[in-house]
């Protein structure tokens, strides 16, 4: 297996989808701002007990708890997992699906498979760029948040993101989730030949996450830090399994006969 070939396959996808990658980061930022706006302007009575609980869970340094609006805390509960999970999950999933299905439909996959490359080199090239897009979307959003935190230091949402613990969580969970969604994207892309059907399938897979966020928004679920560490271990275990399935399925004969 040649790493050079993997890089070339990945670079081709990067060139093909450069505008999609460039615009994905501001798009996710805009979605995040759009989702947080109603929460910022939602007047509610502060609940000091909940604020204290969340500040402990999220490792926050809050001196005057009573001065903080509960809507900001709710925002924190929803958006921290959202910021970490959503971009790293969304970008690789759709990026991989589009990349493989478009290659199948335009019959460029056939031309790619005739090149002196192994199936794994093609697969790893596709995976590399999918994971890269997820990591860049998520970390790009974090960098954006840091910049906002510097400009608006009182904005509680971004206080937690500046802590070492949260940076470590982001560094570990984001690649794991990007890998997870990337392998799912590959399995979907191999299985379906129509891009619309594959997108519907991807949205169905994403739907539990939306339910999860909705429940968090209603304060019915509060994610403790330990949960994120545990989820990292679970996701990586699943990743090994999904990786084995995707490498088994990504065979030229299987890909070509599913037109």
């Amino acid at each position: 297996m040649s790493y050079n070939n993997i890089i070339k396959v990945a670079a081709n996808d990067l060139i093909r989808y450069k505008w999609r990658i460039i615009f994905s980061i501001p798009a996710i930022i805009l979605i995040t701002i759009f989702l947080t706006l109603p929460e910022i302007f939602n007047p509610e009575e502060p609940d000091p007990g909940l604020i204290e609980k969340l500040s402990t869970i999220y490792d926050l340094k809050i001196n005057n708890v009573s001065s903080i609006d509960v809507s900001e805390i709710r925002l924190l509960n929803v958006n921290i997992p959202f910021l970490i999970i959503f971009p790293s999950f969304l970008a690789p999933l759709f990026f991989t699906i589009d990349s493989i299905i478009e290659e199948k439909n335009n019959r460029t996959l056939e031309s790619l498979l005739v090149l002196p490359l192994t199936d794994r080199e093609i697969l790893y090239g596709k995976m590399a760029i999918g994971i890269f897009s997820g990591i860049m979307s998520s970390w790009g959003l974090h960098i954006f948040c840091f910049i906002l935190a510097l400009i608006f230091p009182g904005y509680l949402l971004f206080v937690s993101l500046a802590s070492i613990k949260w940076i470590l969580i982001s560094l570990s969970i984001v690649p794991a989730l990007a890998f997870f969604s990337n392998t799912i994207g590959i399995i979907i892309a191999i299985t379906f030949k129509k891009i619309q059907t594959a997108h519907i399938c991807a949205f169905l897979i994403l739907s539990p996450f939306f339910v999860f966020f909705f429940l968090m928004n209603l304060e019915l679920i509060i994610i403790p830090l330990e949960f994120l560490v545990l989820s990292f271990l679970v996701v990586n275990t699943i990743n090994i399994l999904l990786f084995k399935i995707s490498t088994k399925l990504f065979r030229r004969e299987w890909l070509l006969l599913r037109y």
């Binding site: 070939n5 070339k8 081709n12 060139i15 093909r16 335009n106 019959r107 460029t108 056939e110 031309s111 498979l113 005739v114 090149l115 002196p116 490359l117 192994t118 030229r252 004969e253 070509l256 006969l257």
Partner: protein, 242 residues
């Protein structure tokens, strides 16, 4: 891989290909030697594309064996792909990339390909293709020209052309035939499938006629013309299909 005695470039022994219960190829056997231009003809569904795809290592045989340059098509598929140039009937090009970018991308994977940038420039000029124009804006004929260039630019030993003349003007056909004759003189093997028998008439040394997954005729073109004197290739084909 052996580097000497490449007299026989392609050996196909009792090749079978099944899609579920349907047999696309049944006991197909033939040999192709260096310097041969072989025409593969047959009606729709005869198994031509399946045969091409197996020779390109895109598909694996269900039975039998295929060897290219003494390399088994399943065990040494990457080595074989290094020696092959394949022109599909359609598709196979990145429509958002320019013609030049497409060719540069495909050639960079061939280790033995030298001076490929000069070759790309040479062929793009030869076929009057605008190098910076996106392939999506190319006409069907221009796309076919680009596919043809893609199949020969890395100087492969075996050239497989699936319906190469279907959307081409007479001038381009003439150019392609001239290039194929030059490649033939260099000792390359060329395999062409075509529906238009007039296009391959006079170009191929040998003809393989496929019907329902079986070879019903494998003969020198000259022998066929002698056998069916006063008939055109199209008429010979129709007689064989009877």
């Amino acid at each position: 891989m052996k580097t000497v005695n490449h007299e026989t470039f392609i050996t196909v022994n009792n090749l079978e290909k099944k899609y579920g219960t349907f047999s696309a190829l049944k006991n197909v056997s033939f040999e192709i030697k260096q310097n041969e231009i072989v025409g593969v003809i047959g009606p729709n569904g005869a198994g031509k594309s399946t045969l091409f795809r197996i020779l390109c290592t895109l598909l694996e045989p269900s039975g039998g064996e295929v060897k290219l340059m003494n390399c088994n098509s399943v065990e040494n598929s990457v080595k074989i792909r290094e020696l092959i140039g394949y022109m599909p009937e359609e598709g196979g090009l990145y429509v958002k990339h320019s013609g030049e970018t497409n060719l540069r991308f495909y050639t960079m994977f061939y280790k033995k390909c030298i001076n490929h940038n000069q070759k790309i420039d040479y062929y793009l000029d030869m076929f009057d293709l605008i190098r910076n124009k996106k392939v999506g804006k190319y006409s069907k004929g221009m796309k076919q020209k680009l596919l043809f260039i893609k199949s020969i630019v890395h100087d492969p030993l075996i050239i497989l052309l699936d319906e190469p003349f279907s959307s081409m003007d007479p001038e381009t056909r003439h150019k392609i035939k001239r290039i194929l004759h030059d490649k033939h003189k260099e000792g390359k093997v060329i395999i062409i499938s075509s529906h238009s028998l007039t296009d391959i008439e006079g170009l191929c040394d040998r003809l393989l006629v496929l019907k329902e997954g079986k070879i019903i005729c494998d003969d020198r073109a000259e022998t066929l013309y002698q056998k069916f004197s006063d008939y055109s290739l199209e008429e010979i084909f129709l007689k064989l299909m009877e």
